[in-house]
């Protein structure tokens, strides 16, 4: 074997090992669905005159955004499973198990903080925790999820640290706008797989 073949084989090993931990099963339309849920939550909150700054609105906002999160999660899971089935891939695989364990800490922390944090701080905490979960997803799904995760963290930090920022507007910008951005990024052409057959 010459040096060129050795280098090519090492390159093949690197790319295959990377591919083994790369997940491309998140459909763009699931992200657009999540964005629509975020915008719907914002619109419903605004139409009822609710504000995270008013402690009396906390139970109503908790209900609205709890339902929004549940619907968004269910549609993302349903679309992802359907997409995997269409491609003939198992929806629950070693890779998706890894993703589940990577996003779980962020989501669990968000759920716990929801129970103990004052209402006006919840939007920022949700964005920070969700951003952390997206960065966990990014380990497997690549830079697009990382970009969305980092922007969620930025939105969360701004919402928590800049007092005059409106929590509801930031919820719309993040859970609506950033999900739409992630969906748009996912529509970008994915690099074709290298042929190994034959």
């Amino acid at each position: 074997m010459n040096i060129r073949e050795a280098e090519e084989n090492l390159q093949l090993i690197r790319s295959m090992m990377e591919r083994g931990t790369r997940w491309t099963g998140l459909p763009a339309y699931a992200c657009f669905g999540a964005a629509a849920c975020g915008i719907a939550g914002w619109a419903l909150s605004i139409s009822r005159g609710l504000s995270f700054a008013n402690p009396l609105d906390a139970p109503a906002l908790f209900e609205i955004w709890g339902v929004v999160a549940a619907i968004a999660a269910v549609q993302v899971i349903a679309f992802t499973v359907a997409s995997a089935q269409r491609r003939g891939e198992p929806a629950w695989s070693s890779l998706t198990r890894g993703i589940f364990y990577a996003v779980l800490p962020g989501l669990f922390t968000g759920a716990v903080l929801t129970l103990v944090m004052p209402a006006e701080q919840r939007p920022g905490a949700w964005m920070l925790c969700y951003g952390t979960a997206l960065l966990g997803l990014g380990i497997f799904a690549g830079w697009k999820a990382n970009v969305a995760g980092a922007l969620f963290l930025a939105c969360g930090a701004i919402t928590l640290c800049v007092v005059p920022v409106n929590g509801l507007s930031m919820m719309a910008a993040s859970f609506g706008g950033l999900h739409a951005l992630l969906g748009s990024l996912l529509l970008l052409k994915r690099r074709d797989h290298e042929q190994l057959d034959g």
């Binding site: 074997m1 050795a6 591919r19 695989s93 890779l95 190994l196």
Partner: protein, 103 residues
């Protein structure tokens, strides 16, 4: 053999074949992987993948487990300890060839 080459006999021929090298690399990076996932990643036909997996299984490098999940057959493939050691040795051999060539 000159300074830029190594004897092919130094290299594990079971792993060295390009398709099997791809399979071993994927298996080394995952806890276990299904036949369908392997096929998708490697863009190989069922028949071709089966042939290469059989060769790797006969060498003791992979373990194949067949089961049923929701009444559908599921074939899971895992790298064995022997396979991981052989894969590591193969990578070491490649690195030695490159180092030797670069002086």
């Amino acid at each position: 053999m000159n300074s830029l080459t190594a004897k092919l006999t130094d290299i594990d021929k079971v792993i060295h074949e390009r398709a099997r090298l791809g399979i071993m690399s994927l298996l080394a990076a995952t806890a276990d992987i299904t036949f369908v996932e392997l096929k998708q990643h490697l863009q190989m036909t069922d028949g071709n993948l089966s042939v290469h997996l059989r060769i790797l299984e006969e060498a003791g490098y992979v373990a194949i487990e067949k089961s049923f999940v929701e009444r559908k057959p599921r074939t899971a493939v895992k790298i064995t300890k022997k396979g991981r050691a052989a894969f590591k040795s193969y990578i070491d051999a490649l690195e030695q060839i490159i180092q030797r060539a670069k002086g």
